[in-house]
């Protein structure tokens, strides 16, 4: 009996130590290791997020507010955020008078007129729905009369003007008939020409949202800088632009 007691006394400390270590491993050790691993991942992720936010904040701070506003103003004139119906009509007549061409009929289908700029009618067909932030087109067809030179001049003015338009089709009848051709050969007169011009008036709704806070700030790349310089050199025939601070894209862009 005494021998057993003595042996137990010998192993008491190691047994206690073993039990303490075992319990501690399950209660403290393993959860601590798990938490540490999780924390390390969190720290890495948060550091990356902090770096992104720091970069973004410094980029935002470095942005010149007035320059940005003026650049946006130019871009908005070139590519309006709503269908530029009146701007196009007024600029077309000004361009026509500048080139000397006579504007005849035009065919414009701007689409549905909304009572509220921010809400599209539920009846709006899928084809008429416009994606925010995407280049959209509004077809317009115009008939012109004038000499060949002024029609060409009109097309040239059109290509150098804002709002931007994209010619799709030109049908030019130079006005030369066989009889006139003979006279033209003799007198070198420029016969009256007529043309039907079909083009797309370009616009794009503002992007629907500005993304996540940690999303990087888009930087204006060299190509965009060149584009900016190009649109600054365009002839502007309408400047009644006011920038809206809303960050929600309009599904139906009419505001009139």
């Amino acid at each position: 009996m005494k021998f057993i007691e003595s042996r137990l006394r010998n192993w008491l400390v190691p047994i206690i130590v073993g039990v303490v270590i075992l319990i501690s491993i399950f209660i403290i050790g393993l959860p601590t290791i798990r938490q540490t691993s999780q924390l390390r991942n969190d720290v890495t992720q948060e550091r990356e997020r902090l770096a992104l936010l720091t970069t973004k904040l410094s980029q935002l701070t470095a942005l010149d507010e007035s320059l940005l506003q003026s650049q946006l103003f130019e871009a908005e004139i070139a590519l309006p955020s709503r269908k530029p119906v009146f701007e196009t009509l007024s600029s077309l007549s000004l361009q026509a008078s500048e080139s000397g061409v006579l504007l005849g009929s035009f065919n414009f289908s701007p689409g549905e007129v909304a009572t509220q700029s921010s809400q599209a009618s539920p009846d709006t067909s899928a084809s008429e729905k416009i994606d925010p932030g995407v280049l959209s087109r509004m077809p317009l067809s115009v008939s012109l009369t004038g000499s060949n030179d002024v029609i060409i001049r009109f097309l040239e003015i059109l290509s150098q003007s804002a709002p931007l338009i994209e010619p799709i089709q030109v049908n030019l009848a130079t006005g030369t008939t066989s009889q006139e051709f003979i006279e033209q050969e003799q007198e070198l007169i420029d016969p009256g020409a007529s043309a039907t011009l079909t083009f797309d008036v370009l616009y794009s709704l503002p992007p629907e949202n500005i993304g996540k806070l940690s999303d990087p700030l888009p930087v204006i790349n060299p190509q965009q800088t060149a584009t900016l310089q190009l649109i600054q050199s365009l002839n502007k025939y309408s400047q009644d632009f006011t920038f809206s601070n809303t960050n929600t894209g309009k599904t139906n862009p009419f505001t009139f």
Partner: protein, 185 residues
């Protein structure tokens, strides 16, 4: 005279057993203590590292909150920059895909020689084709016109030119129609 006392131990065997047990107990205790120390030496740095990471994470999150507030204060600026970038991308796309029709029309007029006259031009971006028709006063001028077509093809101005019709009227004029496939895009 010095007396010699012999070292007599009557319980020598018992003492040896006792000593052996004591040494064994001591060794077991030492091993246990060392195991405990090693365990703590592993556990405590992990706990310390966890505390360090936790403090670091809190500090980073405080910085993130500060930066977030800073960005939110400049949200209008960010919105303008995003809008500008989007517009410039769309404008670049539009300008890249645009065909300068006035230049094409001038090219068409230049394609016809002096004694030939262009009657009509149809430019269509969708099918990349230009349809022209004109009047030519003589066979010699017609030959000049065809030469002009050939030269423009040789200089890679156009991909293909197809003469779709060639007629002669009672007045002696020649009418010619051609379909030109553009090289662009």
């Amino acid at each position: 005279m010095a007396s010699v006392v012999p070292n007599i131990n009557l319980l020598q065997k018992t003492k040896r057993i006792f000593d052996k047990h004591a040494r064994k107990r001591k060794r077991i205790t030492s091993v246990s203590t060392i195991a405990l120390v090693i365990y703590l030496a592993i556990l405590l740095p992990i706990v310390g590292y966890r505390i360090f990471l936790s403090t670091t994470l809190n500090s980073i999150r405080r910085d993130i909150d500060q930066k977030t507030q800073g960005i939110q204060q400049q949200q209008a600026k960010e919105q303008r920059q995003i809008l500008l970038s989007n517009k410039l991308t769309n404008i670049s796309e539009a300008l890249d895909n645009r065909i300068l029709f006035h230049e094409l029309l001038i090219e068409m007029f230049e394609l016809f020689p002096e004694n030939a006259s262009l009657q009509s031009v149809d430019l269509n971006k969708a099918d990349n084709k230009i349809t022209v028709s004109g009047i030519v006063s003589s066979v010699f001028t017609m030959s000049e016109l065809f030469q002009s077509f050939t030269q423009s093809l040789e200089s890679n101005l156009y991909a293909q030119i197809t003469i779709t019709s060639l007629t002669k009227s009672s007045e002696g004029e020649y009418s010619v129609s051609a379909e030109i496939t553009s090289n662009s895009n």
